[in-house]
Symmetry: C2
Subunit: 276 residues, 2 copies
Amino acid sequence: MNKQQLVEQIKQKKTFLCVGLDTDIKKIPQHLLSADDPILAFNKQIIDATAPYCIAYKPNLAFYESMGVKGWISFEKTIEYLNSNYPNHFIIADAKRGDIGNTSAMYARTFFEQMNIDSLTVAPYMGEDSVTPFLNYEGKWVILLALTSNKGSHNFQLTADADGERLFEKVLRTSQQWGDSNNMMYVVGATQGRMFEDIRRIVPNHFLLVPGIGAQGGSLEEVCTYGLNSECGLIVNSSRAIIYADNSEQFATAAAAEAHKVQQQMAIELQKKGII
Amino acid sequence: MNKQQLVEQIKQKKTFLCVGLDTDIKKIPQHLLSADDPILAFNKQIIDATAPYCIAYKPNLAFYESMGVKGWISFEKTIEYLNSNYPNHFIIADAKRGDIGNTSAMYARTFFEQMNIDSLTVAPYMGEDSVTPFLNYEGKWVILLALTSNKGSHNFQLTADADGERLFEKVLRTSQQWGDSNNMMYVVGATQGRMFEDIRRIVPNHFLLVPGIGAQGGSLEEVCTYGLNSECGLIVNSSRAIIYADNSEQFATAAAAEAHKVQQQMAIELQKKGII
């Protein structure tokens, strides 16, 4: 999916919500455990229920890998289900990969060619040749970690060099030599508040993937105040608050209601900014 | 495997070689392609042939993930084979993971508890809470990326802060508050030459995992001159130069010969340093 198509979806559906498919066998409703593939059964119902209110889905690979081979089957089938039934939803594999060039090239083939996933989160520590193999695919995206939502983001990401440039700023600036706002996005945690201002100074036109709303404590309103640009430029993720809104047989209806609530807040923000 | 057991293996076998199982279906000998699981068949023969000359195996997850579910089956079976037949070999899952705390905790359970792997490579960008969940397992290790072997290592890892401390040095120093030389190692590329001196100043007692010998151009002698400590303190990896030494039905014999050659060089280095 290219940038224009993504912006089109956002305007049409009045939402920039991404639903995080952090599906944990220990947290899904009991009655699903008798299904052939409980993870897939859960995901399908969550997807069907929330699709009108979001423009993206983000399975976090760790949740699937933690179940070994079975988990990979659930992951692949979830992607197939999305590709077959919801081709207008943007798919983010939250994998946080990053390795030497030839290895990153293998990851790119796996996620982009074989699985037809739109985008992949990538860690920047290993630099240019760990990122560029992902940039040669039309309509596919790297989402580079910049300023993450967790406490540990303070350990290294905020370290300033001799000129006062902090590491996350250097990542933003340097990586613009590798790609542009048509094939790169950045992860910026919703918990980072006014830092969005600093980020928008460096990457005014890029999309930002924003985790940390809900369970992690970030505020949607604050993120929008400092992060929205004229094309929206934000994909805001919520995982636990939506997919585990309820643990009964009505879990999907409850997830839809939560997603709808966020969508309505997002519509207000988009209107305030004159985007819709 | 704890540090004492690892050092014991190194002294007994006079080697600190790790064989990298970067197994690529496109590069393995033709005659294996008719096997049920060609990747596993290749790995088993490579392992049987090289086991006397190395103390560790390091499958790079990317090579297995690139084959989807099939690849994960090959990976899990390779680990089972190692655990059943070579319990004294140290297993490194080269996964370069790193995510927020609860996600890292899931990875730790997968690799350490379920698969009984000794160690996992982890990217430091997300900081403390992305690393510490891996440190609570007796005899298990985090191998944190510090100074990698690739060209892109220059983009961020060498950036100095206002006090002149470079990012990889900050990673080494800061992470010592999270663990110690009994549960942490660091990745330092063989291509980094005299930087090993700087690294040994900060982490004199830690083991370093050193990729980049062979195909990537690093020199074993140089690495040893600057990197060896009194307990050896190095695990040097070679992948392509060993496992693809030959492409015929004699591939395993050829791999053994290459591994043996490296082992002999390592024995000399260990003697020079008075470790054996």
